[in-house]
Amino acid sequence: MTSSATAPARRRRRLVARPAAWLIWGVVAFFFVNLAGVIGSVLVSSFGNRWYDSWLPQEFTTKWYGQSWQEFGLFQVLVVTLEVSLLVVGISVLVGVPAAYALARRSFPGRRLLYLLFLLPILMPPITYGIPLATVLYKYGFAGHLSGVVLANLVPSVPFVILTMTPFIEQIDPAVERAARMCGAGTRQIFVRILAPLLLPGILAASILVLVRTVGMFELTFLTAGPDSQTLVVALYYSMSAAGIRAQQSIDAMAVMYTTMMLVLLVIALRFVNPTQLVARVREDID
């Protein structure tokens, strides 16, 4: 009786699903075509010379890359970007992982309040707290330097590390730590010799994600950076909003360099993190 009930249901489903499936794949394809257009037009423009009213530029050249490298002082900008990102990653991991451990393992009064406190900087738009934060940082003389940029970027990064690390810590069996304690290890030894090796994949994932976020973080860096502490994305914004002074193509070349950097980071990140498993463990093996 069940088979006779499901058979028409399945047939009906197929009738309805066919056009729907086409529609859905069509929407996805349309999205990707436009996405490719958006990225492709920047890419083609960065290699093109004299592109006015045609499908493709009249000739191709690589001179814009050299020009934008010199004009915008990109070496300095890249060094600053690297310094800021590595400092932010290092500090946020050092501060965030122990906190994530305590939050994941312990229950204590005020735990939910603390959790909310860590959630807030991620939930609020950066501009909202960025402007008061920049005011405070200017007051104490941090803003305008590398230290101010790093401090501002730590605000969302530390909670981000805590949130990404919590599931990784929950996966580790507490019995392992208890056994280590029985053998006489202190908290510090447990961290260095038991947890750190087991958590290494999680720490790598969290640091790569923080790295991607920091390189791409515009608002906070923009609000706190001085002339010699701009990261790549802020330099890109300044050169774009001052359009007309510089050749459009050298801005495009800079944008391509930024994208390439992000893509390399992304490919590395995806080796460690599966984006669909960030929220829940996927049960693919059932179907």
Binding site: V95, G216, D252
Partner: protein, 318 residues
Amino acid sequence: MSATATPSRTGDPTGDDPPGGRAPVGVRVALRHRLAERGVDRQLLLLVPAALFVLVLFIYPFGYGVGLSFQPTEGGPFATYQEFFTDAYLRDTIWTTLSLSLPAALLNVAASVPIAYRMRGRFRGKRLLTTVLVVPITLGTVLTAQGLLNFLGPTGWFNRTLLAVGLTDDPIRLTNNYWGVFFSIVITGFPFAFLLVLSYLSGIDPTLERAAATLGANWWQRFRRITLPLLAPGLATTFCLTFVLAFSVFPSAVLVGDPAGTTRVISIAAYDAAYVQYDYPMAATIAVLMGLVELLVIAAVLGWRALLYTGSTAGGKG
């Protein structure tokens, strides 16, 4: 079992002190025991650096900003708030921001559901698809803006295609107005929403739906009565996160939008007040109001989410 972060010479409560030394610290030890029973001991010190960071760099500046907003350069404590709500150029930024971010966030979530529903199983190239979808998230708004200016501009490929196909006679104006910003939000926000929805959907046990199918439910009934209720809390979370992304739109509103007119969003007003007019109390006021409006929307969505079923999405065995 006490977790000692420091060597035990500071007085170990577990009791290897000599009995004579006990009496003077007896009260302290008892208090520490009582605290330990409630889960408070020295291991919680691990939380201190992170909590300090958030307190010093987030809560304190925010409180400072709120304080600043009540100390305008002239007028009473509420002068800047009054000015914000009487000046239409400032007041309308709230409406402009909401009319951009709410439809964009809704579209991102609504479009993700059917696509993720179709793709939740295993199929060839899924890993590739998710990889490609992560690309726009990392592009960031600045690059997306540059690309949109090139692609959707009057001589860009998009308008060229429309002209070549014959859908339109004149290039459509899609940049430097509302639509440019809208597309920029969708391009960065949709993949993010999709990946989140997909991961929520993948967490729902497919056996639940198969059980419904054996009871004769068709695909729409299965979706409406089984999948959607289990997915709804996840959708609310996704909406909130996408909304936050869209609400704080700043670079693209300046670059592909019309920053003085139709896309003068609230973050532009805040930036102008702080860095163009150097009116810090006004900037703090706008930032506070911006946070308030955003938290109101999120609270409304999460309040609605609290009414829904939130529990295990796994089947009977799990």
